[in-house]
Symmetry: C2
Subunit: 255 residues, 2 copies
Amino acid sequence: MVARYERIADELRGEIIAGAHPVGSQLPSEAELAARYGAARGTVRQAVAVLAAEGLVGSRQGARRIVLGRTRSQSFAELHSFAQWARANGYRFGGQVIAQRRRPAGGTEPARLGSEEVLEVLRVRTLEGEPVLLERTVYAGWVAPAVEELPADCESVTEALHASIGLVFAYGEHLIDAVPAGAQDARLLGVRRGSPLLRQRRTTTTHEGRPVESSDDRYRAGSVAFSIRNSIGANPLVRHAGDLRFGAGEHMFEL
Amino acid sequence: MVARYERIADELRGEIIAGAHPVGSQLPSEAELAARYGAARGTVRQAVAVLAAEGLVGSRQGARRIVLGRTRSQSFAELHSFAQWARANGYRFGGQVIAQRRRPAGGTEPARLGSEEVLEVLRVRTLEGEPVLLERTVYAGWVAPAVEELPADCESVTEALHASIGLVFAYGEHLIDAVPAGAQDARLLGVRRGSPLLRQRRTTTTHEGRPVESSDDRYRAGSVAFSIRNSIGANPLVRHAGDLRFGAGEHMFEL
DNA sequence: TAGGGGAACTTGTACAAACAAGCGAGCACC
DNA sequence: GGTGCTCGCTTGTTTGTACAAGTTCCCCTA
């Protein structure tokens, strides 16, 4: 059972993507949409709120909503699952575990992952036959057995874990920056040492806030880019900082 | 006049940051909050929706909301304005125009910026005395005069343009990736050629969707990082297979 | 013609009510 | 002891109403 506002949002999104509402044009007013769909104004507002959150439309009090773009963001799942992102975009992709071992948690890991023993996995992901991503993932102890069950060439770890133990990656925090390729990075990704990599560090938790994994993913430069659309009203994005000299923290944009 | 739901959100956020609701704990139910604040349930829902959008709390049907984190994501303006971000975080910062010239629009610029003549500006930004950011910005013709009025060491272009012509950067689209430093990048940022830079390409528009600028900003590696906190909606692992397929260009994560 | 004043329109906020759907704990049963 | 089920709690969805606040555009006036 899909909610009514979602169906309305889907339909409006479809119209925008199809070009019925060109970029820069005005959307029908809430009252018009309510009449068209035979829904209450509140329901229509929920629908357009979805589109606004996706960055497709912008709105401000007093003026009609305007169309900002036509590309849809599928943000969360794609940010967590390489496979889901690649599949949604029609790319050929693959994966291969290079190394995997259990070890005691160290540093901030016990606090971040909430377990004393962790499972460390090194995976290479390919896109269109080319290695583009190196994943260094640390799993909390309680998911380790399920992860060890997976085949080495498992296409989608996220989906496999959902199927096997019903695990859902519900919340995540991501840090994106650029780093030079180390020796191992260079070898596995087929680039020169020191060449630029786009790094995404993430920590994910379940619905209950239970930590699942913490990962350091490195993309070959030129292979992928992150895209964000935002507005002054709805603020998904902000910046943070660290220190060049002390190297203790680093400057950070919060998205 | 601040909205009621915003005041409630502020108060709850304050309680979370202060530790009254530790990370992992449950928030009071909507009914309790409504009673406490003497507000309708809908109003309370709006308040907690704000916190959810900030990534502070997570929610799912049937269960109480839980606290996910204590760090607050700030304003949108900080993504567009280096100065506002740096100031809000208490950093010393500066800026200097290196080159500036008008030229005819080329390539996709007429379409992106909606003008035939543009103003190209090259700026270096410093943080704590160190050059960390190189901005190559192309302004639409209609803002060019106002930009040319600015002093070469203008601290905040965004604020200056707001003060002089009432310009508001309302919507933005950002593409984040990693690139090797070119000769000019290396010289101005004080790094070696080919070393990693974090690149943020952005296009900004006004409230009405009128294009203002298009920029290529490059950060020294290790100086800044982008941070995103997100959550899965209601739909766990459901994805539509290949409903969208954009041929051109590079692979993109859309956030 | 340029400018000010307003009226109509549009989105934002707030309240109230009702039902649907999912979660969790406690209870009964095997 | 463990399993399954029911019931109460909590969040999600939808409708309706009313007013507030900001925008847009037309018209009237100087």
